[in-house]
């Protein structure tokens, strides 16, 4: 009986094994890229947009709310005066509070998003850590990604979920620990590599690559990924901010005008004592 080490493999089997190993590398490459586009690049671009342009958009939105609220205040005061009633300013403010609750909520949400964006950009990984993180992740994708390893145990599936969490959190230590665990229980690979099996595997990997390329193309065709070049173009950013700043100036003038109108309304009419009971 011959020793396994003395087996001479058919050259076509060797060629296909080598080709498939590289195809697997390409699948891992594309899987990691698709994941990064969704979980790293996209949030980072959104954060960059928030801190460069969003900050001005938020100011604009606050002023739009303020202008709309003042306009409504004028209407309510005018309505009271038209009905021969002295406007109860406290009641009007309470009504405005109620009517503009949704707007206020949106302002709070946008402010929180801006603060989160600033926080995110302050805590980006260093180049070295990013390199280490990706290297560990790449290794774990090869071992544990369900698309590449169809015969994972339940424990390995759970491990894969932890890997994703650790990667998204940028937790290098956790990924190192998970690498040790994954190395302990490597996925079972079939030891029989027949020509048929290798050819079938090649077709599956080719299909996966085509699917992933389409997936990445779709991800990249949507904002904010379509705005990558603009966000790093200082001229574009400046232009966009200047346009918003012009609107902000106009809104500020509008708010000033509305405040003056309220003062005038309250001055034009005789005092509270000349009106009947509200």
């Amino acid at each position: 009986m011959s020793d396994n080490n003395n087996l001479v493999l058919h050259p076509e089997i060797l060629r296909l094994t080598d080709e498939n190993s590289l195809l697997r590398e390409e699948v891992v490459h594309l899987l990691s890229e698709a994941h990064d586009l969704v979980h790293t690049v996209k949030p980072n671009l959104m954060a960059i947009y928030q801190t460069k342009v969003g900050i001005w958009e938020l100011k604009q939105f606050k002023l739009q709310c303020q202008a709309a609220r003042l306009k409504r205040k004028v209407e309510l005061i005018q309505a009271c005066l038209n009905q021969g009633r002295w406007p109860d300013l406290e009641a009007i403010e309470a009504q405005l509070e109620e009517e503009f609750r949704a707007w206020e909520h949106k302002i709070r949400m946008e402010s929180q998003r801006l603060a989160a964006a600033e926080e995110r950009l302050c805590h980006l990984l260093s180049s070295e850590d990013d390199f280490e993180l990706k290297k560990l992740y790449y290794r774990l994708v090869k071992k544990l990604h369900p698309d590449l390893n169809t015969e994972l145990t339940e424990e390995q599936r759970r491990l894969w979920l932890r890997v994703q969490d650790a990667y998204e959190a940028g937790d290098i230590d956790e990924l190192k620990a998970l690498t040790l665990l994954a190395d302990k229980n490597p996925p079972t690979l079939s030891s029989v590599n027949s020509l048929e099996r290798l050819t079938a595997e090649q077709q599956t990997l080719d299909k996966q690559i085509q699917r992933l390329l389409k997936e990445i193309e779709t991800i990249e065709s949507r904002p904010p990924l379509t705005m990558r070049s603009e966000l790093f173009d200082d001229g574009w950013v400046q232009n966009r901010c200047e346009t918003i700043q012009t609107t902000i100036t106009e809104l500020q003038q509008r708010c000033n005008g509305l405040n003056e109108r309220i003062q005038t309304l309250l001055k034009e009419y005789p005092g509270e004592e000349h009106f009947g009971q509200n």
Partner: protein
């Protein structure tokens, strides 16, 4: 004229990695990093005298000291101050011409990296656009490094150089790569080299062809170490898939020959 300070050392004849920052740090502490070895400075000093003589006539300031100064024939390093060696241009060319064949290397204290003209201990990966350099990488590092190559931009490329000044370089285009392989035959004579671009054989199966937009080209360093634009001349079959680019870079890291799976177009005459 900008001045910079450099530490010239000699790599040891072993296979240990030599991250420049670590080597530099050890030298500052008066210790020798295992990746370098003491060397006879005479030939280096002679070349420095030659190269500085021309520069001094043009008003350049050059100064160097051997360290330790008392050690005579075997020194740890030479501390050199001279006009800054930029990424491209005349100073780089002067250093390449006069010192590269002496098998010494040098650290740029201001940049915190190897001097542009010298070779790494084992290898160095440099991203074209960002200029970020990774030293003494392994095969496991390649996939992550490929991911760091920007997919667009005028200088989206990467180059992997070894201690013999051979290199492979790639440029991405629409999720494909053009890959070139360079071998230098004589470090004292830059005209003696071979450069090839990888392509598929007509018979290679499963390789959908892609159109190459004519507006694309390369920025390349010419024989005078200047950066020049070279219009693309790749053929469709020379845009290869990631897996093939990876195979070629791996072969290069192993010090192997160019992988025979690809058709290697001799492009030496296309270079400026």
């Amino acid at each position: 004229m900008n001045m910079s300070s450099y530490y010239l050392w000699k790599w040891a004849d072993n296979n240990l990695p030599g991250p420049p920052d670590e080597v530099f740090s050890e030298l500052l502490h008066g210790r020798m990093h295992p990746a370098i070895q003491a060397f006879d400075p005479a030939s280096v000093i002679r070349r420095l005298e030659q190269v500085s003589a021309q520069g001094r006539l043009a008003g350049e300031e050059w100064d160097w000291q051997i360290q330790p100064s008392s050690s005579g024939r075997q020194v740890s390093f030479i501390f050199l101050t001279c006009p800054t060696v930029e990424r491209y241009g005349r100073m780089r060319r002067r250093f390449c011409d006069s010192l590269l064949d002496l098998d010494i290397s040098g650290y740029d204290e201001q940049r915190g990296q190897l001097m542009y003209c010298f070779c790494p201990k084992k290898n160095a990966w440099e991203c074209g656009e960002t200029g970020e350099v990774f030293y003494d990488i392994t095969e496991d590092d390649l996939p992550v490094l490929f991911r760091r190559i920007p997919t667009d931009g005028c200088d989206a490329s990467a180059i992997l150089e070894d201690r013999r000044n051979h290199f492979v370089q790639c440029e991405p285009l629409n999720r494909r790569f053009t890959v070139e392989w360079r071998e230098n035959y004589d470090l004292a004579d830059f005209s003696r080299f071979g450069q090839w671009r990888a392509g598929y054989y007509e018979s290679t199966p499963r390789r959908p062809r892609l159109f190459v937009p004519s507006r694309f080209g390369h920025e390349v360093i010419n024989r005078d170490c200047e950066l020049v634009y070279l219009k693309a001349s790749e053929k469709k079959h020379e845009l290869i898939r990631y897996q093939d680019a990876l195979r070629i870079f791996r072969a290069f890291l192993r010090g192997g020959p160019r992988p025979p799976q690809y058709r290697w177009q001799d492009i030496k005459d296309e270079l400026p």
